[in-house]
Symmetry: C2
Subunit: 356 residues, 2 copies
């Protein structure tokens, strides 16, 4: 390819028409004779025209705003990962005609979600990224946005019934199934315990539910005899949790396999470290700082994680292409890799965690 880049000017010359006309056919705008359109298309074809993205974006003086609607977070919890990913995407967008904003809401308060949606509507951006919690309200938001012509992409989890442009996340059921195969595949135990962390607001958490289903489906397919104990912990009550676990392990000293389906496996790691328990097989999810530490120390054996940054980047890209060029993503639902982290490889995943 030693030939220079072909430009609209080249195809204008070849087709015997002007830049303006070429431009019109390239944007399927009206006001061009069928004959001319054909000529232009042919010229584009034969010269192998490709758009100069820089020039296009520069000339296209529109400035797009993308708004991310996410649960707010406390330091060290799952949503901080997502927020960091947004911050990172924001920096990437800097210098392009894109800006990324964030709107957060308390995930346990439907009122706050609705209020956040109102704020969104009050100053409507050109595109929206949502990490959905409230199913019905999200569907409604989808309707509203569709009417306004504002595309929405889901990350983290999705609401299938809503109108959305694309989804980027991991398959939740499969992540549970994977968890079971890792934890139980080699030398299946007699029984295991699932520590379930209650959510503050007592709201149905569908993603985690799907994950548990994946796990139990694996069990009933492969280990119908396995006994799964369920014990309930609280997010912020260490004393209570320790009491629960003390009691449980006193009653079941033989149990060595522990699973938890949300991001708080570090609560259990804390207990194990404090009590000095040995020989436990613990599996958890999500690459929180405290979870990383637990894996590095060998307390948690497997951590299944998703690439939040990548998901968000893909989401932003999809929206940017839609906004700038009207491109629709090839796949609507994009199930992205679930990475398996163990002590020996976790250190090389740091980029996923650091906001880099």
């Amino acid at each position: 390819m030693q030939t220079k880049k072909v430009t609209v000017k080249d195809i204008a010359r070849l087709s015997g028409l002007s830049i303006g006309t070429v431009d019109r056919v390239m944007h399927n705008r009206s006001g061009v004779a069928e004959e001319s359109r054909r000529k232009v298309m042919e010229a584009m074809e034969s010269l192998g025209y490709t758009l100069n993205t820089n020039a296009s974006l520069l000339a296209n003086k529109k400035h797009y705003r993308i708004c991310c609607l996410l649960p707010s977070f406390e330091s060290g919890d799952y949503w901080e990962l997502v927020y960091n990913a947004v911050a990172s995407a924001q920096r990437d967008a800097e210098g392009y005609n894109l800006s990324i904003e964030t709107l957060t809401y308390n995930q346990f308060s439907r009122e706050e979600f609705i209020e956040a949606v109102e704020r969104l509507k009050a100053d409507l951006p050109q595109a929206v990224i949502v990490a959905p919690i409230y199913r019905n309200d999200t569907i409604e938001l989808g309707h509203y946005l569709k009417e306004k012509g504002v595309p929405m992409v889901f990350i983290d989890s999705k609401v299938s019934e809503a109108d959305y442009l694309a989804y980027y996340g991991i398959p939740m059921w499969e992540s549970g199934y994977l968890a079971a195969s890792l934890l139980l595949g080699d030398e299946p135990p007699q029984s295991i315990v699932n520590f379930r962390i209650e959510r503050g607001g007592g709201i149905a958490d569908n993603p985690t539910l799907a994950r548990r289903h994946g796990f139990t489906d694996y069990v009933s397919e492969n280990l119908p005899e396995l006994r799964i104990y369920n014990e309930f912990l609280r997010p912020h009550d260490r004393e209570h949790n320790f009491a629960v676990m003390d009691k449980f392990f006193a009653a079941h000293p033989d149990i060595r396999h522990i699973v938890t389906f949300n991001s708080r496996v570090h609560l259990i790691a804390d207990y194990i470290t404090t009590r000095g328990l040995k020989g436990m097989s613990v599996l958890g999810f999500d690459i929180l700082g405290q979870n990383i530490k637990a894996v590095q120390e060998g307390v948690v054996k497997y951590l299944i994680v998703q690439r939040t940054q990548v998901q968000l980047r893909r989401g932003v890209n999809a929206l940017a292409e839609w906004l700038a060029f009207g491109t629709i993503p090839p796949l609507k639902d994009n199930y992205m890799p679930m990475d398996i982290l163990v002590k020996e490889n976790i250190n090389f995943y740091s980029e996923l965690y650091k906001d880099n």
Copy 2:
């Protein structure tokens, strides 16, 4: 940030100078009084100027050529992955002022490598990406390129003694160590077999060597009693390989753990499937199509893979930033994630394999 993007014009106005002067200080070009430079810097600071990448790249009419120097490949082997990654990066570069070329050489022929280097020198690109095989010749190439001011990045593996801008790849020793922990961690066997695939040219393959060291170091640390058998296969001689394996398993019917350190674990999967062996624990490397299939069918238990596409993308980005803005990558050696693939999660890695 409802304020419009600040441009050079803005900072020219604020500093009371002209666009030209602002431009000069931004590029540290000569011919600007100290006083003026200070004013401009201050204005940039206070207005929070950020470069408009699109305009910059458009106006900067230079067209950069990046050349990738890689081993040639046959369909289905490891280097095809890398080549696909290059092709993908090439498409990404399309439309920007970047073009990516490929120069391949037979990895078993030093002559071909040297010849490829000559071709490279004959039509020197602005930057080079190398997947190195021949250590000394690569060092020499590094010297030459340094002299010419052409930056070089390594992918896949590196030659530490050479002059290079950056390296993107996985840590080989650690990948072997990880392999051992996965294959032997849970219920350590008495003995295992390492099928070693001889390379056509009989050349020292340092990366694979480092990987084997990682494996054996794990073993001597944790399982000093473990017996590792070494058997040698050939890349393209199925009959011979089957004979070797038949003989081996006849002599060692108790062995159920198999490892191989290069990308050809599918050769062993083929054998296992054909002979109908059951209960084998097989671990291999690299996300080749045939390896994926072997994992999906449950013949290979673990596949440790690297994200070739990401490595290449990072390499290209590093070079592009260096070329366009003179930016030096924050880290010289970038050790990237090693992903653990099993039957239950491999399907979601397809993007890494498909050239997408």
